[in-house]
Subunit: 467 residues, 2 copies
């Protein structure tokens, strides 16, 4: 081939146009394999462009492997059988899977949400802007894999005074959400770890651990917490619990059960307790229940906490305290994982904690949730003929259990017909769902007192046959 | 027990002092198990506090399980054998594992760093402050598990025009770093997936995939990329590659090899290519090599990209494009994972991209790195008697291979003696390290031209016996 006529246009670099023309011609078989291309000099003259322009186009074609240069001979189209199969691609003719539309409710007693209307916007913006003003090289470079030391110090101090957690900053790992930290823990425990989980439970932890391939044994609870007899029979070597405020039952694990659980870890090597302390800041009667981690003398408790509920869900910062054997393993084998949290965000939270804003914010939220809690308890009084309440005085939800024998789904459907979204206890159960008395979860964090009043009024109408 | 004398002090709430006193007395055996406590009325009178104060203390003790209430009889200390083992805990007598000190070098040719002195501080702060001003409820609530749609749109548009990637925003998942996305991919591929990885390679990906339990087969490269014969013999069903610019060799996978690799995926079900396109923005000769994903017609390429190198390492935002079979699996089974990236950060990057700043920033960085690249190439000329260069004209590093037979570590040690940190190729190899010609990696992103000049001068002295 001695000539190649290419209609060059304005706008795009000339070498790119030459490159694209030849590439397309090769792909579509218009220039057959092994064809010798015109020399750069010939083509440059023919197209009236500089030789370096043609050179650049040829080099690009070479680096992508469309043409080859044979020393002393020239440029040849490479032999690429598979090219014949490349067709112009359509723009995705197959529709992609789309998400379900979410239904709208007038009143949503979600146990998941938090009250974001009381988020300290002003303070947060002020601190963020201060941090941004200070942003320079350091905050943009790769940080400590465990999270910045200052943030770990601030959290350790908070946990010691507020939760009775005893640890050093070196034991703490900051991560982008509890789920990420559970993934890390999964690697520390090893795939063969068999994990005991209460039922009902916080389903998300169950989903993460089971989808990572762990064998899970579900353990029932009595009024003191996870049943020890079932745990001992389970053959598990790790137990996932929420001792300070079990989700969703609201059960506080008694000191006796805590000590039994700790004693269980001593009966065999490599036994661990995973303590998820997800919302224990919020207790409206007495003071918060101290963490189980604080009385562990055997280095067997992994402590998990998060700012998702106490600050905001979109602040993706959680923390995990490792007992020393797991810390050693982490530092030896897993500290290659880079931190998943931006250093700017870490710095903002560090200042929020260490300048006293977090404590003030928590106090404000506690008062707010307590008020909603009391308001809901009061509003529910007319329902007491047909239901009893449990799990109150803490957290952001309570439970309504029907006295009559009836289906949970029936209660949910009736509420829905009146525009009220309520949640069934059984959706938090693992495995076979109990036929037990129907139990409804009512969350009150993300709903106003006015909505609580109106929503409960609707529930009274919806469920009147059961009252 | 009819009396309990407690020295109440100012400062702490009275109920807390009563609670703490009784709790400590129970723990230390000063009040034996099953002891009946004074009634709330008696204790209130005795301590001269209100009855509700004592009530609160007793309720707290009950909720933690230290005492029990027996109806009609009163309050009793619970029976907790294990309590006897609780001692006052010392403040961590065992020293924790501490990190190694990092050595200081005068000149560091790290291939990992990027040039942060050219980060668009002004623009970034401006956008961040704009986003912060707009922060309200929505940005703090839980977001889309795949990442915000606006950000995915912006990235998809960028990838289409800059990298030839063809996908819909629905196929994209945003995550806090490549490692997190690899963990997600691990779950999509399943633990039994056997993964082919080139050697030498980007060791971090190898570490993640192997520590998650995957069987890894290392595959050698020829000058076109991963060797197909070895891949076919490997029994693998996934291949991790960096076709546009292999790390650390700098090899560009030829179009022929790309098509062979795609053809390989068709030979058996569930075969996937993991394309890590980590730094292909940076090419100093011709135009960037288009992504392999763009010519995949069989929905077998998983495309991974990151802003760690193109914006900043501390910006923990990466993205993964899933082919439709894996997307379906993700949506059915793994979309329960909450996003690991803060929505505020996502919004900042969205605006950075869609307002054209990213493109401008990339152009600036490309010019900057090209200049450093050219400068380094020029400075290295006197070394050419003893070394040859490869992997140049792209990325942020190049390779120096010794012509004489000598140990790589020797070169590194000699450089270190002159205050220069250089990196050995063999640290990127998996398994047995080749005895091959010693090869040194010289990164130039995070070092000034002045330092390049002086650093190379030191290398000339350090390595003079090999020149």
């Amino acid at each position: 081939m001695n000539e190649l006529t290419i209609a060059l246009q304005d706008g795009q670099p000339l070498y790119e146009q030459i490159y694209a023309f030849i590439k397309e011609a090769i792909i579509h078989g218009e220039i057959p394999f092994k064809t010798k291309l015109p020399s750069t000099r010939t083509l440059a003259l023919h197209l009236q462009v500089s030789r370096s322009t043609v050179n650049l186009a040829y080099e690009q074609l070479m680096s992508e492997g469309y043409i080859e240069s044979i020393a002393g001979s020239g440029y040849y189209v490479a032999e690429i059988e598979e090219l014949l199969s490349i067709k112009k691609q359509s723009n995705n003719p197959n529709p992609l899977i789309h998400k379900k539309e979410t239904k709208h409710y007038d009143y949503d007693f979600s146990p998941r949400g938090i009250d974001l209307s009381s988020f300290p916007y002003h303070t947060w913006k002020k601190i963020s802007k201060e941090v941004l003003t200070d942003v320079e090289k350091e905050l943009l470079a790769i940080g400590d894999p465990q999270g910045e030391l200052e943030l770990r110090y601030a959290i350790v101090n908070y946990l010691y005074s507020a939760r009775g957690v005893r640890c050093e900053p070196e034991q703490m790992i900051i991560g982008a959400g509890n789920e990420y930290l559970l993934i890390l823990l999964h690697q520390l425990l090893g795939i063969s770890a068999k994990i005991a989980i209460e039922t009902p439970t916080y389903k998300q932890a169950y989903r993460v651990l089971s989808s990572l391939g762990h064998q899970i044994k579900t353990i029932e609870m009595d009024s003191y917490g996870m049943r020890m007899d079932q745990l001992e029979e389970s053959g598990c070597n790790a137990a996932y619990v929420m001792p300070s405020h079990q989700y969703p039952t609201g059960i506080v694990m008694s000191i006796k059960r805590r000590l039994e659980l700790l004693a269980w870890t001593k009966q065999a090597p490599n036994r661990y307790i995973i303590e998820d302390d997800y919302d224990s800041e919020f207790r409206y009667k007495g003071k918060p229940i101290p963490a189980l981690q604080g009385i562990d003398q055997n280095e067997t408790v992994v402590y998990l906490g998060t700012f998702s509920r106490s600050i905001a869900p979109a602040i993706r910062i959680s923390y995990m305290v490792l007992p020393k054997p797991l810390l050693k393993l982490y530092q030896e084998r897993f500290s290659f994982y880079a931190s998943t949290v931006s250093r700017i965000d870490q710095e903002i939270v560090t200042r929020f904690l260490s300048e006293g804003y977090y404590e003030r914010h928590l106090n404000k939220m506690k008062a707010l949730y307590r008020s909603k809690h009391d308001f809901l308890l009061n509003a529910l009084k007319p329902l007491m003929k047909g239901f009893r309440i449990s799990g109150e005085h803490a957290g952001m939800h309570l439970l309504l259990t029907a006295k009559k024998k009836l289906k949970e789904q029936k209660l949910i459907d009736l509420a829905e017909a009146y525009g009220v979204k309520v949640y069934g206890m059984s959706s938090n159960e693992i495995g076979e769902q109990k036929k037990e008395p129907a139990t409804i979860i009512l969350g009150y964090a993300n709903i106003t007192e006015c909505e609580i009043e109106q929503g409960v009024q609707k529930l009274l109408e919806a469920w009147k046959e059961y009252l």
